[in-house]
Amino acid sequence: MLPTLNGRLQSRILVTAILGGIWTLIITPVLPTGAPLGESYKTTFIILLTVIVLGVLWEFLYHFLQQFRWEKDWPTSWGLFTGINEGLLIWLLINLGWIPGVGQVPGWAFVIQFCTTWFLIWAVQNGPLRVPFIRWRFNGGRFL
């Protein structure tokens, strides 16, 4: 990908919110949360929101790292692998009880939600998103 900082932030917020939101709606009922559906939705959506909020901060770091690259690109695989650091941080924060509104979350429920959401967003950004938004890839990932 060839993101600019602005493009990173816009893509992070919009794609995670919209695509991630739809996916969260679909997947939550089948997650092994052990909690009632309403409770589960609350948890999964707060986690999604955390991916966005912390993600905005992460994007600044990624943008900084990108400056060391001559091509000023962001390799495709890095877009996937950054899910590891982001996922681990959120899991840590959940267990420290630092994410407001989220109590105990079973490990598998978190892993499934986070990994599928992350993969989906990554895959869509690396191809299909170019179909509706023909200018997006030429504008550093900006929609607006």
């Binding site: 060839l2 001559w70 091509e71 000023k72 390799p75 191809g127 170019r130 509706p132 023909i134």
Partner: protein, 522 residues
């Protein structure tokens, strides 16, 4: 009756009907009456694109997908198919259909969305698991573990052919050579076409259009002065060749008789020529000796600071594409768009220059040559060339960092660029002289961010240009498939703002893509 009374049409008596008159040639802005007086038939059409190469093709592709009917577009060209010039240049410079190009997986002239990418298409057309996985693995791990994925030339041509048929491109093609584009009093332009001899009743045809797009590719082959002097003086086109000219005879001769070749240049064409020489050397057990001469010799990574280091070594500068990748959409695209004048020219200097992609097989070949002593690289600039003793071979006089030097070779293959001045093209020279076009900081045609040629507006019409003749503008990646598509998108969006066509929004884009995916005609 009097011979001193000027005739009303004042045309030179030699002008045949339907040809350019001195009046037309000398007038910057033409009236309809002037064209009528010359007897040139006028064909009205809203949009004309000149060139008919890949630049014209992708622009027409965008416009057709945006919703412009084929009848509203005319393509003026000498080519039978859009990739003809390109295929010729790639073939002579050692990229046959089976070899891979330089651009990336998303740079698809047959697909404005770049999805599915070439890699995905190649994977799904694969006949074995390995062939399926390899392209996917490549794009996933590039450019860290693998080099950038690049499509085979053949894949690019066959997919373009499919898209050409899908959009009914050939309906819009009119054959001939374009002589000039002039502004029309009252708006728009006249584009003068010289059809092939005998193909039309008049010598010229005038296409009168609101919009004109010029994509004529390379204005010409640039032979450096030393090379040109040699050719003119010794009338010998066989021992000293440019890589963009057919030069199979060099490889043929080397198979008959061992010889030494001097390769000049450090770009991708030099890489290809070296690969061919070494492949032949291996395949036929030849004893070819190679000396490569770089004008700028990079001994390692280079660049002004830690944020701007480009890899390099053994003379080469390594870069996946001709500019850093983000000029086609990211940070550098945005940065360049803001620069003007000298600052822009300098940024071009820093990112561009001659470079070649880092490919393991090429590196391995050169390493082997170096250690076995049949390949050598050096820094140097050619001063002159002359035939060798008794007319055999060539002697090259060079200036190097260590002083003057002469080298003997059987052949010299010059791999420097196709960078002729834009004046070499009559159409562009005419634009500079008569239509208000100017030059950008790199001396090429000055275009704005929408690829309109600055200074040529003929309200309400507009004149656009894309491709190599516009290099040096606010967008550096112009002379590539993706760059031509980026230009085409800007042009199509500009035309949408002018009300010529509807802008392509997400809904229509998805619908159009779906048609593309099922190969449904539009």
């Amino acid at each position: 009756m009097s011979g001193d009374q000027p005739l009303p049409q004042s045309a030179a008596p030699t002008t045949e009907p339907g040809d350019l008159t001195p009046e037309l040639i000398d007038t910057d802005i033409w009236t309809d009456e002037m064209v009528a007086r010359a007897g040139i038939p006028v064909v009205p059409v809203p949009f004309v694109t000149v060139g008919g190469g890949i630049g014209s093709f992708v622009t027409v592709d965008y416009l057709r997908i945006y919703g412009v009917p084929a009848q509203q577009i005319v393509v003026l060209t000498g080519l039978d198919v859009p990739w003809q010039s390109y295929e010729y240049l790639t073939r002579v410079s050692q990229i046959p259909r089976t070899e891979r190009l330089r651009s990336d997986s998303q740079s698809r002239p047959d697909n404005i969305w770049g999805f599915p990418s070439y890699a995905l298409s190649e994977a799904f057309a694969a006949k074995s698991l390995k062939e399926f996985l390899w392209p996917l693995w490549n794009v996933f791990t590039e450019p860290i573990l693998t080099n950038y994925f690049t499509p085979r030339a053949g894949q690019a041509f066959s997919t373009m052919e499919k898209e050409m048929n899908r959009i009914g491109y050939l309906q819009s093609v009119r054959k001939g050579q374009v002589r000039m584009v002039r502004r029309r009093a009252g708006g728009g332009y006249y584009t003068i076409l010289t059809p092939p001899a005998g193909a039309a009743p008049t010598k010229r045809i005038a296409y009168q259009s609101q919009y004109v797009h010029i994509a004529i590719g390379y204005p010409g082959l640039r032979l450096l002065k030393d090379l040109q002097d040699y050719r003119e003086r010794y009338r010998d086109p066989t021992k000293v060749v440019n890589a963009y000219e057919p030069h199979e005879q060099v490889y043929d001769q080397l198979r008959i008789r061992p010889g030494k070749v001097i390769v000049r240049g450090g770009g991708i064409v030099a890489s290809r020529v070296l690969q061919r020489l070494i492949d032949d050397r291996d395949k036929y057990n030849l004893r070819t000796e190679i000396l490569q001469v770089f004008r700028t010799f990079y001994t390692g990574p280079h660049g002004k600071n830690v944020f701007n280091r480009r890899p390099g070594g053994h003379g080469w500068a390594y870069q996946g594409f001709n500019y850093p990748k983000s000029v086609w959409g990211g940070q550098l695209k945005e940065k360049m768009a803001k620069l003007e004048g000298d600052a822009r020219a300098q940024a071009y200097e820093e990112m561009g220059g001659t470079n070649t992609p880092f490919r393991k097989d090429w590196l391995e070949q050169l390493k082997r040559g170096r250690s076995q002593g049949w390949y050598r690289e050096m820094q140097g600039a050619f001063d002159s060339l002359r035939p060798g003793p008794n007319g055999a071979g060539v002697v090259v006089a060079m200036s190097t960092q260590h002083g003057a030097l002469e080298e003997y070779a059987d052949f010299v293959v010059d791999c420097t660029g196709l960078e002729a001045d834009i004046r070499e093209s009559r159409v562009l020279a005419d634009l500079l002289d008569h239509s208000g076009a100017g030059r950008n900081p790199k001396g090429r045609l000055d275009v704005n961010a929408q690829f309109e040629v600055i200074g040529t507006r003929s309200r309400p019409g507009r004149l656009y240009a894309s491709g190599s003749s516009t290099l040096g503008g606010p967008f550096p990646g112009v002379d590539t498939f993706l760059g031509l598509q980026i230009s085409a998108q800007e042009i199509a969006d500009d035309l949408a703002r002018l009300g010529f066509v509807k802008r392509l929004g997400p809904g229509r884009s998805i619908a159009q893509w779906w048609r593309w995916a099922r190969n449904r005609p539009i």
